[in-house]
Amino acid sequence: MKPSTSNWKLHVRRLALLMMFLLLWEALAGGIYPLFSLLDPFYSSSPSRIGRELYILFFQENVLKDIFVTLGEAFAGLILGIVSGVALGLLFAYSELVSSTLEPFMSALNSIPRPALAPLVIFWFGIGIFSKIFLAWSLAFFVIFYNTYLGIKSIDPDILNIMRVMNASRLQIMRIVILPSVVSWIFAGLRLSVSYSLIGAIIGEFVGATVGIGYQLIYAEGLLMSDRLYALVLVVAIMGATLVELVKRIESRFLRWRPEIIL
């Protein structure tokens, strides 16, 4: 924890840096004094142009709808990924037969680059939301699966031993030892799987969709609307950052028992 007195100074420093960057960008793109323009705003855009484009996107073109569709797809994929990843992770941990048989197949499947898979997925599920949910799932699932499986494998054997000495039933061992450590490993993988599921949804929208941020990006590219591309990238960046921040908050609430690791 940092002392809060130095906090506002930090914020001021960050804000000042951001302002300088934006001002320089605006100036170089000729937005302050047109004769002084080193960059071609068609390629470089500029903060004011992006601002105008954001206004159009939000108040005339209802980009909120696209944001919610993409978020919804990513979220659905994430939830399915957590449920199925934990289930299979538990199965792998409990059954030597299953894990030793399936292990190579799992890593083979996981090594498929998802963009390569996307056209096939669209072919299977159509251009609606299900293909995007599938792609988001296909990324989130493996992160959660591996975290669950390896997490259970790395439980301190003496903790299981103490439970056995106390005559705990299998169910009690599950509730008191396995599940709490699985939860902590899920959280460890959650930040990654949240970003991954967003990536999955957007890849799906690139390949075939009628709505969503990925669709909007492809659309703007097709019409050479460079300012809009910048604006949309900004929107996606904010979406991703917000989600990761949200996960961090939940994480620190759940993982209070963990030592803070300082490298």
């Binding site: 903790i159 000495v165 030592p259």
Partner: protein, 272 residues
């Protein structure tokens, strides 16, 4: 004051008996014989200590008695182990084995929780025990917020909390400073006097083995077995400090030290 003379307690019921126990670990790097032909008995209400060089199989022996090696495929066991009430064992592990996601009090109440005791009762027992091991006020801390010695004391409280008949202790005071250690030795003596639990305790500290044990088993190394046994005839009730001043203490200390030294020399010859 409640002072019962140990002599008055009849000690004839076997609590644990180990007969010709041999244990080997099968690891990818080869076979390790950890114990060979270990035999001894523990009677109800006894506190017996074990000393022996590092790696001689003390932890292995305790694990075998606790039934923890039965779960493992990489362990070869032969011989007989009898435990009177295998469902009522307490175990203080060498490494504390606290559940890191549980607070101190939640760790101490673990055994009571497994036995489905009501919440208030669990809490009361745990708070009393934490006070006893000198950790009052730490109940809501997490293990990573404690020192190694404090964690050992939590593990000790946890093993006693659910009132098992027979307690295994693997160097439970190994990481404590001299004063805290003596205080807890007295505490263990007091608990033992009061509850008459059967306790088998491993320690690296010869003095501790003599102060606490009514018998001391000395093990030798590679593969471990019980080399000699000493009956400790110190007056009761004992105290950590009082016992050290007794001539009997010094006599036993010498004998045990010689035993261990001899084993070391043989170990060195072995290497040549």
């Amino acid at each position: 004051m409640e002072i019962r003379r140990q002599e008055a307690v009849v000690m004839n019921t076997e609590c644990v008996s180990v007969e010709g126990l041999s244990v080997s670990y099968l690891s990818p790097t080869g076979r390790v014989d950890a114990l060979r032909n270990v035999s001894f008995k523990l009677y109800d209400g006894e506190l017996v200590t074990i000393v022996g060089p590092s790696g001689c199989g003390k932890t292995t022996l305790l694990n075998a008695i606790a039934g923890l090696l039965n779960f493992r495929k990489d362990v070869l066991m032969s011989g007989k182990i009898f435990v009177k009430n295998p469902k009522s064992i307490g175990y203080v592990f060498q490494r504390d084995a606290l559940l890191p996601w549980r607070t101190v009090i939640e760790n101490v109440t673990l055994g009571l929780e497994v036995r489905k005791f009501p919440e208030e009762k669990r809490k009361k027992v745990a708070l009393d025990l934490l006070k006893m091991v000198g950790l009052e006020g730490y109940e809501n801390k997490y293990p990573h917020e404690l020192s190694a010695g404090m964690r050992q004391r939590v593990a000790l409280a946890r093993a006693i909390a659910y009132d098992p008949e027979f307690i295994l202790m693997d160097e439970p005071l190994g990481l404590l400073d001299a004063q805290t250690r003596m205080a807890l030795q007295d505490e263990i003596l007091r608990i033992h006097m009061k509850t008459r639990k059967t306790i088998l305790m491993v320690t690296h500290d010869i003095a501790e083995a003599i102060i606490l044990g009514s018998r001391v088993l000395v093990m030798n190394s590679r593969p471990g077995s019980v080399k000699s046994e000493y009956v400790v005839k110190l007056p009761k009730p004992r105290s950590a400090l009082g016992s050290r001043l007794d001539p009997e203490f010094n006599r036993l200390y010498r004998l045990i030290l010689d035993d261990l030294k001899e084993d070391m020399r043989m170990g060195q010859l072995d290497l040549l």
